[in-house]
């Protein structure tokens, strides 16, 4: 472990950028404020690259800023650390964050509140960096809550439309439910270890002492922490906020709700892999929930007509893959998918943003089509990212998703592998359906929109191109052994160790890969047959599509079910308490005490006449009484 004083500047620079724009942003003007915000993320990216360059494979850099809490044996530092895992996340957050900042310069150019947008965005980067760089669980939690706050602020960014504010509230409240589990898990971990005489939340210390806990306690702790992860990373049952979070500006969806924040749950689980590895029941549950979420979200994505909703459900589905990988113990594969997914999903979201920008705010894919010729740069980057997420050979998604499926298969989770496989086919189908609906065929936009169609400015297309390149080549870092071997696994091996041992022969691995490719190809072909032909029917209403189509189009009525089962009873309870309990019981008790006191005082206050002579008489009587008493005594 080496000290490295530069580390603190990585999160501090975005915080400074945010503060400067907060106080002086309007005075600086839009252009300067925007450039400043970009620089405040670009500089940490450069620092992160330098740190990454300096970091030896098994090394850890640490920078302790100050001691936050010091209570007996228990100490929490505000201290940043970089190891192999943090370094990867650091590069994703600053690198992708920087590209999206640059993109936002173009996307938000005409927005009055551009300065406020960049204040939030920089603040988000700060909290995200605290999350991935904190060297203890509490600091991670600070970042965890901070990104939740920024997510809320940015989802409700266009607050003039009450629906956006409601979506922001939903994101925040659903996350709070998960965070509650996280806090409980953290407290249980602290007190249970404290019972053994070890008061710490520091990751390295935790790792050393994790084996002191009993398996049952570890299971409870990891389950509670996983509740937190389901909230932040949009897994069943707490995924409902993510599709609604698309109400925010599209760069926000790309940065927060695809590339970085929603992967915090995956990061947390990988960070605490030494705990989770000791709780096989929790891991099994994580794998099942991951696979179920991946499948469930993919089936919803196939019928959505909103360009961003498709991507939102696709994100939920891909996060499900990551949790499937975590659940089968393939932590390195999960982080690898986080890494590649950040590139192609950010590219897709930014591409969709480019489309929305060109269409003047239209998000309904039924009103798009044929945009290929109007915006070639957006189209080609979108094609690459779509291929990547579908898992076409030698793109990033191919390597990472294939690795997850192979890990699931080789760990003997055949059913989960089957679900993952089918989901891969669905993914290919809905992504190509989207590609065709948006970019191919005839343009279904009205004449006014059509006249304004234009390719986006360079500040927007350039990040797209960089991300598209990343969507292909980032995957090459983690190729299977039968190709050119995985630099990725070697990089993370000191951290996750032998838990990643590969079983199974090369032939089986190749066969599994070929099966996946076959399923993906079928998905793509069905998409072209159904939507690609001239005059194909683009979409159906809920009734004419059949039962399953309607179910999927309405997202399995999950929102309605939650509304009926949780929200309405809860609201009814609140109304009861507000209308009856609060005014009658709480206020009644308080006012009752006051009224009683006033009643008694009205009796006694007659004695206080204000007349001095009455007081003197009382004084005299008292003195005489005392005198009589003492004389009576003797």
């Amino acid at each position: 472990m080496a000290a490295f004083d530069l580390l603190r500047w990585i999160p501090l620079i975005p915080l400074l950028g945010s503060a400067i724009n907060l106080f002086f942003g309007r005075a600086l003007g839009k252009k300067t404020a925007g450039a400043l915000a970009c620089a405040a993320v670009g500089a940490p990216f450069a620092l992160a690259c330098y740190v990454f360059w300096q970091l030896p494979a098994a090394g850890i850099f640490r920078d302790t800023v100050y001691t936050w809490m010091d209570s007996g044996a228990f100490q929490v530092n505000v201290s940043f650390q970089i190891d192999a895992l943090s370094a990867v996340m650091l590069l994703i957050v600053t690198g992708i964050g920087f590209l999206i900042h640059v993109y936002s310069l173009g996307y938000m150019e005409h927005d009055e509140d551009l300065v406020r947008f960049f204040v939030y965005l920089n603040l988000f980067i700060f909290f995200m960096l605290v999350l991935v760089m904190g060297d203890n669980l509490l600091l991670l939690f600070v970042g965890w809550e901070g990104v939740g706050l920024c997510s809320y602020l940015l989802v409700g960014f266009w607050y003039h439309d009450p629906n956006n504010s409601i979506a922001g509230n939903k994101a925040f409240i659903v996350n709070r439910i998960g965070d509650f589990g996280f806090v409980l898990g953290m407290l249980l971990l602290l007190t249970e270890l404290g019972r053994q005489g070890v008061w710490t939340l520091d990751f390295l210390e935790l790792q050393k002492h994790a084996s002191m806990l009993s398996p049952a306690i570890i299971s409870v702790i990891t389950l509670l922490l996983f509740v937190g992860a389901t909230g932040k990373s949009a897994q069943i049952p707490l995924f409902v906020w993510l599709p609604d979070a698309m109400a925010g500006p599209t760069p926000v969806s790309a940065l927060i709700h695809a590339a970085t924040m929603v992967t915090a749950g995956v990061y947390m689980t990988a960070r605490l892999h030494f705990l989770f590895a000791l709780a096989p029941e929790t891991l099994a549950l994580i794998a099942v929930i991951g696979a179920a979420t991946a499948f469930f979200a993919a089936t919803v994505a196939v019928t959505q007509n909103d360009i961003k909703k498709v991507l939102a459900y696709s994100t939920v589905s891909q996060l499900g893959y990551m949790f499937l990988a975590l659940g089968v113990g393939a932590f390195s594969a999960a982080i690898f998918h986080v890494f590649t997914h950040a590139f192609f999903k950010a590219c897709l979201f930014l591409g969709s943003g480019s489309v929305i920008h060109a269409m003047g705010g239209e998000q309904d894919m039924r009103k798009m089509g044929g945009l290929k010729s109007y915006m070639p740069a957006t189209y080609w980057t979108y094609v690459i990212a779509t291929l990547a997420i579908s898992g076409a050979p030698f793109t990033a998604g191919f390597f990472s998703k294939d690795l997850i499926l192979w890990q699931a298969f080789s760990h003997g989770a055949t059913v989960l592998w089957g679900i993952g496989l089918f989901t891969a086919g669905l993914t290919a189908f809905y992504m190509f359906r989207q590609l065709i609906m948006v970019f191919h065929g005839d343009c279904r936009a009205d004449a006014h929109t059509k006249a304004h169609l234009h390719e986006s400015p360079t500040v927007m297309t350039l990040p797209l191109i960089v991300l598209a390149i990343g969507s292909i080549f980032t995957g090459w870092l983690g190729s299977p052994e039968y190709l050119w071997g995985s630099r990725w696994d070697r990089w993370l091996e000191p951290l996750f160790g032998a838990a990643e041992a590969h079983h199974g022969s090369v032939q089986t691995e190749v066969t599994v890969t070929l099966i996946t490719l076959g399923v993906v190809a079928v998905g793509i072909i069905i998409a072209f047959i159904k939507y690609g032909r001239a005059g194909a029917k683009i979409s159906a209403s809920a009734t004419e599509g059949g039962f399953f189509y309607g179910l999927s189009l309405n997202k399995y009525y999950v929102d309605e079910i939650y509304d009926a089962v949780i929200v309405r009873p809860f609201t009814a309870c609140s109304v009861f308490f507000a209308r009856f309990f609060d005014p009658w019981v709480i206020d009644g008790a308080v006012n009752g005490v006051a009224a009683t006191a006033r009643g008694f005082s009205s009796i006694w206050r007659g004695l206080q006449t204000g007349n001095v002579q009455h007081y003197v008489a009382g004084f005299l009587l008292g003195t005489l009484a005392l005198l009589a008493y003492y004389l009576g005594q003797t």
Binding site: R605, Q608, T609, G610, N611, V612, Q613, V616, A617, L620
Partner: protein
């Protein structure tokens, strides 16, 4: 020599006159004078005991009380004048603002 009892009875009578004056008179100046009466009744007791016991301490206390009474009378009268200027009355029953 006049017996001690006579002094004490006279002192008690003067003191009671002072107490009654404080309690029932409707003029602050009279009330103040009644207080002086009470003080001097006490002084009388001190002197009587001083003579009776042949000790000078009682007389010392009397001088002390007279000095304090003089100061008290000055301040009391000043307050009374000030009150009169504001209220045009010296009836203590009219002065009962300091209550609930």
């Amino acid at each position: 020599m006049v017996p001690l009892n006579y002094y004490l009875i006279l002192s008690a009578i003067v003191f009671i006159i002072g107490v009654v004056g404080v309690l029932i008179r409707r003029n602050l100046i009279i009330v103040l004078m009644s207080i002086e009466l009470m003080l001097n009744a006490v002084n009388l007791t001190f002197i009587a005991f001083s003579r009776f016991l042949g000790s000078m301490e009682g007389q010392v206390v009397v001088f002390f009380v007279m000095a304090v009474a003089a100061a008290e009378a000055v301040i009391g009268l000043a307050i009374i004048i000030s009150v009169f200027r504001h209220r045009e009355t010296l009836d203590p029953q009219e002065m009962q603002l300091l209550k609930w």
